[in-house]
């Protein structure tokens, strides 16, 4: 069953009408208040996109999907890599102004906000410059490459009052919204463990022109520690954000291990990581990521004493199932007595296999694009001049704890953290 826009609004309204939205999902209010796409020219939001590589071009194409109803305009694009620059202009049908230097984009007085989808190490200085130039910012996750840069961005956000929304699209996903609502309402009981993993099978490389090997670090920045923490900042941060969302707080410690055991091709970031995050009540988030086997794909598993939720496959499973009717049980028992074998020797122990249960869907087979929803939200917030601070805080904790995971692996010890900035 397709979940339409109307179904999504019903879902959000149903939740938003209750106390849950005030405590954990205040960003959904933008959808509850109704369309903020005022038709006046003064309501039109003018955006610039800085970094139009793989992710940036996906964001651009997503913006185009609701361009006609959203009352906004992609007024400028910027990328210092020629193929990306040309592609970005093509995607905007030549209507957007094109720049190689982001400072020139920021000089445009009529740009209200920027979307930053550059390599991770460039997020900080671009976002800080943008906020200081009076532009609201949507910054792809993770926030920045170092904790120091994260803190600088947060301080600039506080000082300037500009929006700093981080690209954690699961915050806008109908599946996650409904799953979190069920968890917060105790449907799966007390959450005692969370498990998350992201498994791929591939070298994670992007093609580098053969005649330009010097572009290796620019194009494959995800593989080098100067620019990225690899699996941790590019993948794990999404799932750490989900775990934090469920617990309502960040972890208190992390310990872990990471290695390059398969893709020994000159990369600096690990190709497999395993971490254990601990929360204040003792709950663990057990996390691992590999890029040499994709059998299990990706998942966030939330284990409660009454049930289990698997977010990515949109499923909920129950610990207890109603017993079969009495007459069926009697027939089964008679069959066992009459036809059952007499055990003579053999196994004295059988393994405790998991419950074989197909589970139920958490929500309808929706076709809503959560990336579009997060971008719609951003446009609305820019029009309003403010965004729920919780969105920024979610991004902050997810980034900090993915970077602390890197530190735990580097130092081979348990890491704790104390916030040095006011949130």
């Amino acid at each position: 069953m397709k979940q339409s826009r109307r179904d999504f609004l019903k879902l959000v309204t149903g939740i938003a009408g209750g106390a849950i939205v005030l405590s954990s999902m205040p960003w959904l209010n933008t959808f509850v208040k109704g369309s903020r796409a005022g038709k006046a020219a003064s309501d039109k939001v003018r955006l610039g996109i800085i970094g139009v590589g793989d992710r940036g071009s996906l964001l651009l194409q997503t913006f185009k999907q609701f361009e006609k109803t959203g009352n906004f305009e992609i007024a400028a694009v910027c990328d210092n890599y020629q193929p990306n620059y040309e592609n970005a202009l093509k995607l905007t049908d030549g209507k957007a102004a094109g720049f190689y230097d982001y400072q020139k984009l920021l000089d445009m007085k009529d740009i209200d906000a920027v979307v930053i989808a550059t390599p991770l190490n460039e997020h900080a200085h671009i976002a800080i410059d943008a906020m200081n130039a009076g532009k609201h910012v949507f910054c792809e996750k993770s926030i920045a490459r170092t904790i120091e840069d994260v803190n600088r961005m947060m301080e600039t956000h506080k000082k300037t009052g500009m929006i700093l929304q981080i690209g954690h699209q699961r915050l806008f996903s109908p599946i996650y919204i409904e799953a979190i609502d069920k968890i917060k309402n105790g449907k799966i009981g007390k959450v005692t463990q969370m498990r998350a993993y992201w498994h791929r099978n591939g070298n994670w490389r992007r093609p580098v022109p053969k005649d330009k090997p010097e572009l290796e670090r620019k194009i494959n920045w995800r593989l080098y520690k100067e620019y990225s923490a690899g699996l941790l900042t590019e993948l794990a941060s999404h799932q750490i954000q989900v775990a934090n969302w469920i617990k309502g707080e960040p972890p208190v410690s992390v310990i872990g291990s990471g290695n390059i055991i398969y893709w020994k091709d000159g990369r600096e970031v690990w190709d497999n990581v395993a971490l254990v995050y601990k929360y204040s009540d003792g709950t663990h988030l057990i996390y691992d990521s590999v890029i040499s086997n994709r059998h299990y794909g990706l998942e966030e598993q939330i284990l409660g004493d009454k049930g289990t939720i698997e977010m990515e496959v949109n499923k909920i499973y129950w610990e207890d199932h109603p017993s079969a009717p009495a007459i069926q049980r009697l027939v089964t028992d008679i069959e066992k007595d009459v036809f059952g074998s007499v055990p003579i020797g053999g196994a004295s122990w059988t393994p405790e296999v998991g419950i074989k249960d197909k589970g139920e869907f958490i929500t309808g087979n929706y076709q809503m694009d959560e990336v579009q929803l997060e971008l719609e939200g951003f446009v609305n917030y820019v029009r309003d001049g403010k965004a729920p601070e919780e969105l920024t805080i979610q991004g902050y904790h997810a980034t900090i704890w993915s970077l602390l995971g890197e530190q735990a692996i580097n130092e081979n010890k348990l890491i704790t953290f104390e916030n040095k900035i006011e949130l």
């Binding site: 017993s323 009717p325 009495a326 007459i327 069926q328 049980r329 009697l330 027939v331």
Partner: protein, 78 residues
């Protein structure tokens, strides 16, 4: 082809056997509900299963009766 005449008494007999089968299985269900401490609403919700099992039991009885009839005819011919 000869016409087969089914007497009223035959029909009455088969109905009674069918009802006895149903009552027997119904009472088995009552016992099962009591024994497994299940819900008494299963007397209604599982009625279709009771009917199916009773039908199977009836057919089993028909089968046995046909075999007994066959054996009797065999001995009477001898």
């Amino acid at each position: 082809m000869k016409d087969i005449l089914i007497k009223g008494t035959t029909i009455k007999r088969e109905i009674i056997i069918g009802l006895v089968c149903f009552l027997f299985v119904f009472l088995v269900n009552v016992y099962a509900i009591y024994h497994y401490n299940s819900l008494w609403s299963e007397l209604l919700t599982q009625l279709y299963e009771v009917i199916i099992i009773a039908a199977v039991l009836y057919l089993l009885i028909v089968f046995i009766r046909l075999i007994v009839l066959g054996i009797k005819k065999l001995f009477s011919q001898k």
